[in-house]
Amino acid sequence: MKLTRRFLLAFVLLGADARAGQPASENALRFCLRAEPKTFHPALVTDEASETIRYLTGGVLIRLNRDTQQPEPELAVSWNVLDGGRRIRLRLRQGVRFSDGTPFTAADVAYTMRVLLDPKLNSPTGDSFRSGKGTATAAVEGSDTVTIVFPAPVAGLVRLFDQVAILSEKSPAKERAVLGPFYVAEHTPGAHILLKRNRHYWKTDDRGRRLPYLDAVRLEILPNEQLELLRFSRGDLHLINRIAPEHFERLSARSPHLVHDAGPSLENELLWFNQVSRTPIPDHRKAWFRSKNFRRAVSALIRRDDICRLVYRGHAIPAVGIFPPANRFWFNAKLRPHAYDYQGALRRLEENGFRLRDGVLRDAGGRPVEFSLITNAGNPSRERMAAMIQDDLAKAGVKVNIVTLDFPSLIERITRTFQYEACLLGFVNVDLDPNGQMNVWLSSAANHQWNPSQPAPETAWEAEIDRLMLEQAGAPDERRRKAAFDRVQEIVWEEAPFIYLVNKNSLSAAVPGLRGLRPVILRPQTYWNIEWLSLDTSLAGGPR
């Protein structure tokens, strides 16, 4: 009996040793990046892949909860915004260490802000903190308090810290020392990135167990969506962060428990007419495009419901404007999507002297209404949408010539040469705050796409938008900001410089063994709570 017990004990110990000896990848979450990250430096992130790495490895002072859309304390346990957004005082969490064991101090926060705002670095994250002439300063006030002072008030200041991954001033590993749940352990360019669990990560669960639950995250670099789907179906991947509607439907038909529709996201599809005064297009066409009635008529002729149903298989909603209802605070709830209204559209056109005769719409000068619509090649959803718009407008006698261009050629036309008439593209909102769109709505901005970089606003309504955007950016009170931005949304809805088409739903797929998954509409839709995700390896295989 004794022998048997010893044998059993030895067996159990051996088993335990064997498990300990297994590679960390046994409990590794596997999913895809569509491209190689351009940088691992958190201050220099511009692309989505680098943003993923920053999200999974970076420790931030304040995190925007992707579910509640509210800021929550992380490395800062509390904060006070002072002087109407010119100063912020942060009280820091104590006893936190970087992934290499270096202690986290207030000096690290000051160092991070210095790096971010260093003009030589040209950090895109740092740019969002620039509020006026002069430089921001970060003053360390004791071991757990730091105050950052900006030259002018920064609107939406608290949310901006969601993008700021704290760097270590003292660690010899420099930016490779991180405060997030994982650190970069291995990178094989073009193949994969292995992130391993940061054993110094400060968060614990209710039972005191140190997070994250996962041992590792393996990111496969796979640009092809079809291959991603194939590998997910084979069980090689655990997660697809964003899945196309047609694949979603197909997967849903076979295995409905694998797919998740988090509802309408902040991503929208829109079209606009070129209103640039120096554009090399005929004057009469410029006059059409600059006419509110023409733009509103085009908007009223598009059947958005059909686009949602056919192009997005029902996983989209007709778009209202700048922000969709998914942006709970900033969305102007009084607005509704432009409705399909054939007769109304014709009435608006007739007000401007257009006449529909023999199936051809002609302007006041008798010229047939015809324009080209450019979009990027290789995006089947957008091409289908363009074909539907072409068909919808043809019913009112408007001829649309669709031109698909490779992306660099398209960008060249819409940003430099302005040799185009109308453009169909998508717009990805990554920021809930309207300040993130200052470079779109100010008439002087380069991304004021229908008529960029105006020395002075060319229309009264653009001047009004300029005024309101600056007002909301400088207002310390959220209610005043909201009132100003509500008015901006109303003007945009009325004038239709952008004709908003649809808001796409946030679609994802994950294996059933992925515990803690709560897909949301904000990026990163599925792994925003990565530290709480765990894998039940017995269920983690995908559909085979």
């Binding site: 056919l310 995006n379 089947p380 289908r384 074909a387 068909d391 010539n401 261009l405 008439e421």
Partner: protein, 268 residues
């Protein structure tokens, strides 16, 4: 093997015939969007089903055949004409002219034609009708596809110039023009024909490649290239095998072209 060639010829005649009379044969206009029946499987009303916008797949396939085949023919004719002009001039003139022309041909051959095509296409005016756009695309294909054929033509002319009958004609005092038109051109016909039939499937496939990249024929016109794009969605193809119809027709036509004409051209 004669019966195989005959069968291939019959298939080709049938496909070309259908594509010529497609306005009468096609059950629906190719651009009509019946949005209430989008994505339907084959039925009596829609023998190959409907696409994502509710357009009849069979009609689009037939119209696509007309566009791809007829314009590929035109592009092949254009390309072979340019190749003949350059190759024959080079071969007949010899010396510096030949060297310059062949160097230009080599330079053209070394260019990445797909990127060249994309660049040229991006510079074209936007506001043209789909029909003009498709004609421009194939004209570009024709203008960019002559170089390899030009080399073959020049080699043919050189070989004929050195032949005994050409030497004898020159010895008899035959002028260069007469020598070329009466004696050499008829002997170049097989080479010209072979180049024409070889380049035809190349242009059909080139348009299909452009279509796969989304840079082919503009909406709402169908072509084999645009129809083949649906094959990108592999899971959809396994569930809906009728999506393979354009690919099957393309393979059939290209195979029949090879069987019927390429041997004919070379062996004539």
């Amino acid at each position: 093997m004669k019966w195989v060639r005959r069968a291939a010829l019959v298939v080709l005649v049938a496909v070309f015939g259908i594509s010529l009379f497609v306005d009468v044969i096609a059950p629906q206009p190719y651009a009509r969007q019946n949005r209430e029946v989008a994505g339907e499987p084959p039925s009596a009303d829609y023998p190959l089903g409907t696409d994502d916008l509710g357009r009849d797949r069979l009609s689009r396939l037939l119209y696509g055949a007309r566009i791809s085949l007829l314009l590929a023919l035109a592009a092949a004719a254009l390309s072979v004409s340019i190749a003949a002009g350059i190759g024959i001039t080079a071969g007949a003139a010899g010396g510096r002219v030949e060297r310059w022309l062949m160097q230009a041909t080599d330079l053209f051959l070394s260019l990445p034609w797909l990127f060249l095509l994309l660049a040229v296409r991006a510079l074209l005016p936007l506001n043209v009708s789909p029909h003009t756009s498709v004609a421009i695309t194939f004209a570009l294909l024709g203008c960019l596809g002559w170089a390899a054929s030009a080399r073959v033509m020049r080699a043919g002319v050189r070989a004929l110039s050195d032949s005994a009958f050409a030497l004898q004609a020159r010895a008899c005092g035959c002028s260069r023009t007469r020598l070329f038109l009466v004696h050499m051109l008829p002997n170049l016909r097989p080479v010209l024909l072979a180049q024409f039939w070889i380049s035809l499937p190349v242009f059909v496939l080139a348009e299909a490649n452009l279509g796969m990249l989304g840079l082919g024929v503009a909406e709402p016109l169908p072509s084999w290239g645009t129809l083949l794009r649906e094959l990108e969605n592999l899971p959809a193809v396994t569930d809906s095998p009728w999506l393979l119809a354009p690919a099957a027709l393309l393979v059939l036509v290209v195979s029949c072209l090879q069987l019927s004409f390429c041997r004919e051209g070379v062996s004539t």
